[in-house]
């Protein structure tokens, strides 16, 4: 097997070629080309043709802010409410203002959105207040379209190399990004690539909890995303925020993929309990929604189902056409294997394992409205960056924001402007030491023929995460977890790997452990309950705005231990009233209307008018 030559340096390195990484690479390459040239390197652990959350496409944009349907201010207000007020509105607003040009760009690249017969975008309401869901019934081609643009822009792509640590150097008293250390997961080679700017786009921490099925890779998230980005940023000294605001999603039980309420909801599908009664007003995924879902699941009225069997046959055909061809296309095979169909059976639902993901929730590397982290020259975008509920379009938009800021910065820097780095600059002594230590850390398991196997180590730490960290949370259980984690760290030091693939898994277990520890410490620090199930503490069941209207941040302390700090919530740029700030907590339907709700007349039959691409 030939190993692609890995360059020694690049002006901008993008780590992770999923949604955010694709646009980051495209716009960085275009920007540098316009500013006089420069090399953009896209480092991908898998292969960009099929990597990330959109490996098999996506069936819709969950948060499109389209003129005539929604305004950026409306969107910012909605996301502020959905996050119980703890948001940096400037970062959400930057997304909201830039999302429309991104949609137009995608349209120009050939992404087909659902449109009305009049040619307008066919935006649907799923959120509590505004309309932001734009279907892409033919979204299975999305990754192919992005890859074509990556090639056209002249990005240099290196597949099957995973970043294991970032290189950071002291430059005039500030920590400045200097490069990336990567492991070739096929050959086992470790290389160092120097860079002037690094954009992290490694997706969610998707292998934190263990799915109820017990299958390590049966996760909601693409399991290539093991929390690498969170751990990379943490070890580089960056601040992370909202880690205690977990991701927990309502999913098809055992299959562990979305049902998907955003596709079926606008067509008349909804969540019901075992009595067939609706119990929540809105299927938009929020912590409050998940808490009601969780309570219903664990009550005498559980389990919970997605109800579609009341829909017209042509509606069901349309739902299957979308759900069984894109995003998670093996859904149909799963139902068929159990002899079930949407026409005759309700779909049993469950809650997912816990994860960290700003795309759906709010945990991430702290970034501002330019996608800058707290480390100079280091950017983060997508599911691993802190802009909440950012979803697919947020990843694509913030990839671009990061690229544009990085290019502007390199262009403005010094007399050489954006002049490409001609060779890898000499390494400082500290960097030489750091690189040698990293090489030793990463490769050590290859030398331990009787070392502990990665998959057992992974099972163990994720089982401990389930036992101790899954909400509802208590300080006692969380402290107990930290004790187990400490012991586990010494077991991980005994890991063995038979080949580079297993080596990758060992490194990932380290990332998982780092994420679990961050999740534990951030959750312990916030002694209140907030965000519904995401941070539901049995020992502090009430929300306490007087004390806890702050961001809780995690970073690597100077003593090498994990440190916690707080940041005030920046003054709102879009005013939100106190009443609005509590509006998402009113999601449960009052008992008296807890009857099978009639299907809206317009959803009984799905007319050609609502579907542009039959």
């Amino acid at each position: 097997m030939s190993t692609p030559a890995i360059p020694t340096h690049a002006d901008v390195i993008v780590v992770g070629g999923g949604s955010a990484g694709s646009t980051a690479a495209i716009f960085a390459a275009q920007g540098l080309a316009a500013a006089g040239g420069g090399r953009v390197l896209l480092l991908e652990k898998a292969n960009i043709k099929r990597s990330g959350a959109i490996a098999i496409g996506m069936d819709g944009l969950n948060n499109a802010v389209i003129p005539g349907h929604a305004t950026p201010e409306q969107y910012v207000r909605e996301i502020t409410m959905a996050n119980d007020g703890i948001v940096d509105q400037r970062a959400v607003l930057a997304y909201a203002e830039r999302s429309w040009p991104m949609i137009q760009q995608l349209d120009a690249w050939g992404v087909r959105f659902q449109k009305t017969p009049g040619g307008d975008y066919d935006v649907r309401q799923v959120h509590h207040n505004g309309r932001y869901v734009l279907p892409m019934p033919e979204g299975y081609d999305l990754k192919k379209i992005l890859c074509r643009q990556i090639r056209r822009a002249g990005v240099q792509t290196v597949n099957r190399v995973m970043a294991t640590r970032l290189l950071v150097e002291d430059s005039s008293g500030r920590r400045r990004i200097a490069g990336v250390i990567g492991l070739d997961v096929r050959s086992g080679a470790v290389s160092v690539i120097r860079a002037r700017a690094v954009i992290l786009a490694c997706g969610a921490s998707g292998r934190l909890g263990l799915p109820a099925s017990g299958y390590l890779f049966g996760t909601y998230e693409n399991p290539a995303n093991a929390g690498d980005g969170y751990a990379l940023a943490y070890h580089a000294g960056a601040e992370l925020t909202g880690i205690e605001c977990f991701q927990i999603n309502p999913l098809i039980k055992d299959y562990n993929g979305p049902a998907c309420a955003y596709v079926t909801g606008p067509l008349g599908g909804h969540t019901v309990n075992a009595l067939g009664h609706r119990f929540i007003r809105s299927d938009y995924w929020s912590g409050q929604m998940m808490l009601e879902f969780y309570k219903e699941l664990h009550s005498e009225r559980g389990p919970v189902y997605l109800k579609l069997d009341h829909l017209a046959p042509e509606t069901l055909t349309e739902i299957e056409r979308v759900l069984h061809r894109t995003e998670r296309p093996s859904r149909g095979r799963f139902h068929r294997g159990r002899g079930q169909s949407y026409a005759t059976d309700q779909v049993e639902m469950h809650v997912s394992e816990i994860g960290l993901c700003s795309g759906h929730s709010a945990s991430g590397v702290w970034v501002d409205e330019h996608a800058r982290t707290t480390v100079d020259g280091l950017y983060a975008a997508g599911d691993m960056a802190s802009v909440p509920h950012n979803y697919l379009l947020g990843a694509l938009t913030y990839g671009r924001i990061a690229a544009e800021d990085a290019v502007a910065r390199l262009t403005a820097e010094g007399p050489s402007g954006a002049t490409p780095m001609s060779e890898a600059p000499p390494l400082s002594e500290a960097s030489e030491t750091a690189i040698a230590a990293e090489r030793e850390r990463v490769l050590a398991p290859l030398a331990r023929s009787d070392g502990l196997p990665a998959h057992q180590l992974e099972y163990k730490i994720r089982r401990l995460v389930n036992d101790y960290l899954q909400p509802p949370k208590t300080a006692n259980r969380y402290h107990a977890f930290l004790g187990h984690a400490e012991r586990f760290r010494s077991e991980l030091a005994e890991a063995g790997a038979a080949d580079p693939h297993e080596l990758m898994r060992v490194v990932e277990v380290g990332f998982i452990l780092d994420c679990a520890e961050m999740a534990a410490r951030a959750s312990l620090h916030r002694t209140e309950s907030r965000w519904g199930l995401y941070h539901y503490r049995l020992d502090y069941p009430e929300r306490d705005d007087a004390r806890w209207f702050v961001h809780v941040n995690v970073h690597l302390g100077t003593d090498g231990a994990m440190a916690i700090s707080e940041r005030p919530v920046a003054p709102y740029v879009v005013p939100v009233s106190d009443a609005e700030l509590h509006s998402y907590s009113k999601i449960r339907l009052p008992a008296k209307v807890e009857t099978a709700a009639p299907v809206p007349a317009e959803s009984r039959s799905i007319a050609a008018a609502t579907v542009a691409h039959p």
């Binding site: 898998a46 292969n47 099929r50 990330g52 098999i56 049966g218 399991p223 562990n256 095979r333 693939h501």
Partner: protein, 94 residues
């Protein structure tokens, strides 16, 4: 086992330092390759897999699941030019 209580302190101390032993086990894996169709061993599926769990078996020259790490995403099945792959939902999930 009359002498177990006597040996226990020694064994418990030894268990901390004794090293590790290994065994192998069979696994049912989700990816099934039809060897009669995987004539070329072209590696397209191997390159498609987001978790790198496929490989070309050196002896057979055919694609195989090398690691039981599947997301049942269907990328390999969709991309195989010869329709040689059928992905089953993993046993623990189906």
């Amino acid at each position: 086992m009359p002498d177990l209580p006597d040996r226990e302190p020694v064994k418990a101390a030894q268990a901390l330092v004794v090293g590790n032993a290994q065994t192998r086990r069979r696994l049912d894996v989700p990816v099934v390759v039809d060897d009669s169709k995987c004539v070329t061993g072209c590696r397209i599926c191997v390159e498609s897999c987001p978790v790198d769990c496929l490989a070309i078996d050196a002896a057979a020259g055919k694609a195989r699941m090398a690691h039981d790490d599947c997301w049942y995403c269907l990328a390999c099945e969709l991309d195989c030019p010869n329709d040689a792959i059928t992905v089953k939902i993993p046993l623990l999930v189906r």
